[in-house]
Symmetry: C2
Subunit: 212 residues, 2 copies
């Protein structure tokens, strides 16, 4: 990661070998292809051969980049959840801002993440395989995110910015409202992220009996 002393040419791309006259495929392109296929067909129904064909290499060549198929899904799950987690931690650390606005910001951030990008990447979260112990790191991150919704909601209530009966249940409900974007996008792939975010923000304000 420390390539400060390699900044010699115009490009800062890592210098790698290029066998057979082509650029090496690299983990990223493989993960992109795997993500698309996992989302469309599911994890178990996607074969390593399909993934390799999508990036134009032979099936066993995948194993140079990943120890096994599950490692691809694991990396995808964690990398997809990472931005939300980072955002949540950042917001939680800042106690000088209106917590209701922070909660709304986190919700908008997550909605954009789920409603943007070429494929419905959030659908990875819905794969039945994600509940297997091997993906525990991802599950923990997702629970941390639910926890952040709860914490920001409790702070909002304490600040007199929101009024709900059961904060924990409401946090879970808001979270499922956000993740529901995955389902809505599956039903209608042309959903506009901004429009959906507006609608969910509006609904959130009403659910919390809040106004800005």
């Amino acid at each position: 990661m420390t390539n400060a002393d390699t900044a010699s040419t115009r490009t800062d791309a890592p210098r790698r070998s290029r066998p057979h006259g082509k650029e090496p495929v690299g983990r990223e392109r493989i993960l992109d292809a795997a993500a698309r296929l996992f989302v469309e067909q599911g994890y178990a129904a996607t074969t390593t051969r399909q993934i390799s064909a999508a990036v134009d290499i032979k099936q066993p060549s995948l194993y140079y980049h990943f120890p096994n198929k599950a490692a691809m899904l694991k990396e995808l799950l964690i990398e997809t959840a990472r931005p939300s987690i980072d955002k949540a931690r950042e917001l939680l650390a800042d106690t000088s801002t209106d917590p209701l606005e922070q909660l709304l910001a986190l919700i908008r951030f997550d909605v954009h993440l789920l409603a943007s990008g070429p494929s419905n990447i959030g659908a990875l979260y819905l794969l039945p395989e994600t509940s297997e112990p091997m993906f525990g790191t991802f599950q923990a991150l997702r629970q941390e995110l639910v926890g952040a919704y709860g914490a920001l909601l409790r702070r909002s209530i304490a600040a007199g910015r929101a009024d709900v009966d059961d904060p924990a249940a409401t946090a879970a409900l808001l979270f499922s409202l956000v993740e529901g974007v995955i389902l809505r996008r599956a039903d209608d792939p042309r959903l506009d992220a901004e429009t959906v975010a507006d609608g969910i923000e509006q609904a959130t304000l009403r659910i919390l009996a809040a106004r800005r």
Copy 2:
């Protein structure tokens, strides 16, 4: 299906043969076992051998009851969606009742369906395989249900019982709020159906700026 003239004994169970001294397994028990496995492991990851073992028969014996594995999922999807569809049609046909109360009744009905029962049966809806053309009948039923949410919401607005900007988007949002129960139940298997239904009803009333 016409067994009116077979009502001779105390039991009205269909008379079937019982090979090997045991009761025949029957489609229902096979479907129950398949549902549980599909929900836990996913469709593709569940083998016909696992299903047959769960009902204590050999793998090829399944093919006496079903032409193939997909037929099991197809029947499960349609049968699981059926009660909601029936309820929705019944409500839509009755134009003499307050549409807001009808919408709330449909929502409660669906929440109970998704939050009750021993296994998270609604998780079948989230399987990536459901989007394949072979399950088009199920997809159509599910869209009919979304349509019913929209119709009842528009009637509620027309009756001055609800106030929202974008009825179609709000209907989709409410629907995803209800289906979100599947995700919440996956996170916390001990969820109480009645409590969840109360919370979602409360949230719905606020989202619609309605009161009873």
